[in-house]
Amino acid sequence: MTDPTAITTDGATGRPAPSAGPSSPSADAGAAARRERLGHLLQHHGASLVLLGLAVFGTVAFDAFATGANLRAIVVSSSFLAIVALGMTFVIISGGIDLSVGSLFVLGGVLAAYGSRAGLLAALALPLAVCGAIGLLQGVLIGRLGMAPFIVTLAGLLGVRGLMLAVSDEGATTYLVEDRAFASLGQDGPFGVTWPVWITVALAAAGVVLLQRTGFGQNVYAVGGNEEAASLMGVPVVRTKILVYLLSGLLAGLAGALNAARLSSGVTILGIGLELDAIAAVVIGGTLLTGGVGGVTGTMAGVLLLGVIQNLINQVGNLTSAVQQVVSGAFLVLVVVAQRVLSRTQRLT
């Protein structure tokens, strides 16, 4: 993978190949700049490149991989994680972490199914309101009171799980989705692709614009990159932090609601541990856990990558889903090692 990339990098910038002369300082600087660009490329598009590679491999190796039905299945099952990971991307770029999203996802599903008895609007509004409020509360604790995101959202994870169990009578009551319009939101859609996928695409596009082209997005990068400097430059640090957790809570609730619509019921056991998948997808997508670096497209590639790995393992057939987790885990380690190496080549000064 390294070689073709290096050539692309050179071609893209139109830089002449290093001259044949002895290693003059400028040639060294050129090499450093090339390494820098290569590192940058891998950091931001590494997940996409691996995704592409795996897709090619899947197409060649398995007849059933590149079929419309299979690809649809991959994107549909990935879309819920993608929505959660989108919010997680903002949180992690801001230098935080949100462990509560798995619980919020489940709670959102239960509340949506419960609310669907009062119609489509309630089915969406109830989970968004509750999960948004919980996200907001976490954001206030982290932003205004300066508490550690890990602790606050771990408390959120446990507390929300308890809340979900209370709502569902310790899981004994499963609310079924009763509103036809709401169920159709999870099960139908144009061109044979269900609405959650379209919603994910729209949200991801909005996320790119929000992150790259608005003041809020700049603030998220600034806070995650250097909080002290950000505050000196007049960035509203507290407000930015509160907003990212609010956003993350809202998106987790929405993903849970859409999942309930797809399954026609508020399932209380699916989605436990989803926060870890979301973090994995974000990190695989090139966002640094230390904050300040990353993006939405990488996260989306990371989500799809996890989905494709799972799908390929299913294609093999005789492997259990446990193997999928081992492979995902191994992949995550690889990515983190690669980031470590890359950040070393990039931060020479």
């Binding site: 820098e36 940058h40 614009v209 790259q212 082209r213 608005t214 003041g215 700049q218 990068y221 600034a222 990159g225 250097n226 002290e228 400097a229 950000a230 505050s231 000196l232 430059m233 007049g234 960035v235 300040g292 670096v293 990039q346 931060r347 000064t349």
Partner: protein, 521 residues
């Protein structure tokens, strides 16, 4: 800039005091920055420069006195308020976001927008390029800030300060890691700012730079203003004597230190030889040698590379070039501190709290810490042997503690220093590097530590003594190596070791003999 404006200082401290637990960091300091001037702020460690800067930038609130901006009293509640009042500090490390692009850093919060309210990237980049070009800085505004050199990063910080309409720019040691070429560009930018009527407070230890760039100077010493006035009227020697608090004319006959003068430094081979220690921006070919029983002083201003030399010798500072020989054996410089310790070199660091004592542990544990591997047999350490060792050193160094099990952070500064000394003496070192061994400890303890250093040298230890206290340096050392800007500026031996001569060498008057090192090589 009207003539009337010139009368009102753009930034002023009027009798500002600031007290920290145990220290009066600023004692009624008055300072006035005129519009469009470059004002040097100098002083040794602990003189109060950083505290004054922090008062100006809103990081500290003064306990007494007033801060005025253009004649109006202000009370900054936060650094952001100071920035809004037009006072920008340009630090090397903080102030910008390294992973964001140059343009985004430069215009954060003031990005040009499209009609939809989104950030207009083409205009963002164009505007950033123009802002930098006006200051004569060329950089790829799309690149992440961290890919730029330190110098260019500082220019970006300056450009940002200017573009948010700063009236005062405070620069703290801006050139300490710049290449000469970058320094030139930086000076160009500072002069450009001056021409636009922006005032600069310039903190640096590099006298050459001060004389090149600054109009006036304020010298702080021990929290008080020692001098303020036009820089051109002050010659170097006078400036240094003001910083160090030593009168040029004043010749001291008998000291009050407890050093007993010359040691029997026989014409033996040096036990420690450091040759050509070099590290970019920090040390440039520093060579020092110490013979058994000799106390060699390392003099120079703050930032001249004294502590760095000591750290380089023990291997705590990675070197680009140079080698260290202990008793004829060359230490491999890639090896970390362990090699130096095993070879018998011990460093008593400058910052006791950060680099020396382990506050939560007892006196006994602190003393035994480094010696543990030496006391261990097959990985097990005999408690009795530790007790014996600790007992010996507590008695020998007269460490005042209620028991060996008292927590070390409950002791006085002087006793903490002795605990550290005991730790290294327990290693049976051949060479002791002492970095400011008496700073921050009371007079009595100071005399005891000084007497101890003397005693150790008489016992045949080679000692490298770093001290900002000229008197201590003169009376404690047999020879003094003077550093300036990371190089050996001169070496004084025997009768030449006087405060006047040391100051003259620091000032660069050629009084020392830079090639003196060769005689011992």
């Amino acid at each position: 800039m009207g003539a009337a404006d010139a009368e009102i200082p753009v930034l002023e401290a009027d009798g500002v005091s600031k007290r920290f637990p145990g220290v009066l960091a600023l004692d009624e300091v008055s300072f006035a920055l005129r519009p469009g001037e470059v004002h040097a702020l100098v002083g040794e460690n602990g003189a109060g420069k950083s505290t004054l800067i922090k008062v100006f930038t809103g990081a500290h609130r003064p306990d007494g006195g007033r801060v005025l901006v253009e004649g109006r009293p202000v009370a900054f509640g936060s650094p952001l308020e100071a920035r809004r009042a037009g006072i920008s500090a340009v630090h090397q490390e903080v102030g910008l976001v390294p992973d964001m692009s140059v343009a985004r850093n430069l215009l954060l919060g003031r990005e040009p927008r499209t009609r939809l309210g989104l950030i207009d990237l083409p205009r963002l980049h164009a505007e950033a390029e123009r802002t930098l070009a006006e200051l004569g800085v060329r950089a790829d505004v799309r690149a992440p800030l961290r890919t730029l050199g330190v110098g260019t990063r500082q220019m970006v910080a300056l450009a940002r300060a200017v573009s948010v309409r700063a009236r005062v720019v405070i620069m703290d040691e801006p050139t300490s890691s710049l290449e000469p070429r970058e320094v030139e560009t930086l000076f160009g930018v500072v002069r450009e700012l001056r021409d636009r009527g922006i005032s600069t407070v310039y903190v640096s230890h590099r006298l050459d730079e001060l004389y090149q760039l600054c109009d006036r100077v304020t010298v702080l010493r021990d929290g008080r203003v020692a001098h303020t006035g036009p820089l051109a009227e002050l010659d170097r020697l006078r400036l240094i004597s003001l910083m160090l608090g030593r009168d040029v004319a004043e010749v001291r006959a008998g000291g009050v230190t407890r050093f007993s003068g010359e040691h029997a430094a026989a014409a033996e081979q040096p036990v420690l030889e450091a040759r050509g220690l070099t590290r970019r921006h920090v040390l440039n070919g520093v060579s020092v040698s110490v013979r058994p029983g000799e106390v060699v002083g390392l003099g120079g201003l703050l930032g001249a590379g004294r502590s760095e030399t000591a750290k380089a010798i023990v291997g705590a500072l990675p070197l680009d070039e140079g080698e260290v020989t202990v008793a004829g054996t060359t230490l491999r410089r890639r090896r970390p501190v362990g090699a130096a310790i095993r070879a018998g070199v011990s460093l008593l660091p400058e910052d006791r709290k950060a680099e020396g004592i382990v506050p939560g542990l007892s006196v006994r544990e602190n003393i035994a810490l480094a010696a543990l591997p030496r006391l261990a047999r097959a990985g097990l350490v005999s408690e009795a042997r530790i007790d014996a060792l600790v007992e010996t050193f507590m008695r020998r160094l007269r460490i005042k503690a209620s028991s060996p099990h008292q927590r070390v952070d409950e002791l006085s500064g002087g006793n903490q220093q002795k605990v550290l000394l005991a730790r290294w003496l327990a290693m049976n070192p051949r060479i002791l590097l002492l970095d400011e061994p008496t700073r921050g400890i009371d007079v009595g303890a100071k005399a005891e530590v000084q007497a101890l250093v003397d005693e150790l040298a008489r016992d045949g230890l080679g000692v490298l003594l770093i001290s900002s206290d000229l008197e201590e340096l003169v009376e404690g050392s047999d020879r003094v190596v003077v550093l300036r800007d990371g190089t050996v500026a001169g070496q004084l031996g025997g009768g030449e070791v006087t405060e006047d001569r040391i100051m003259a060498v620091i000032a660069g008057d050629g009084a020392g003999d830079p090639s003196g090192e060769e005689r011992h090589g």
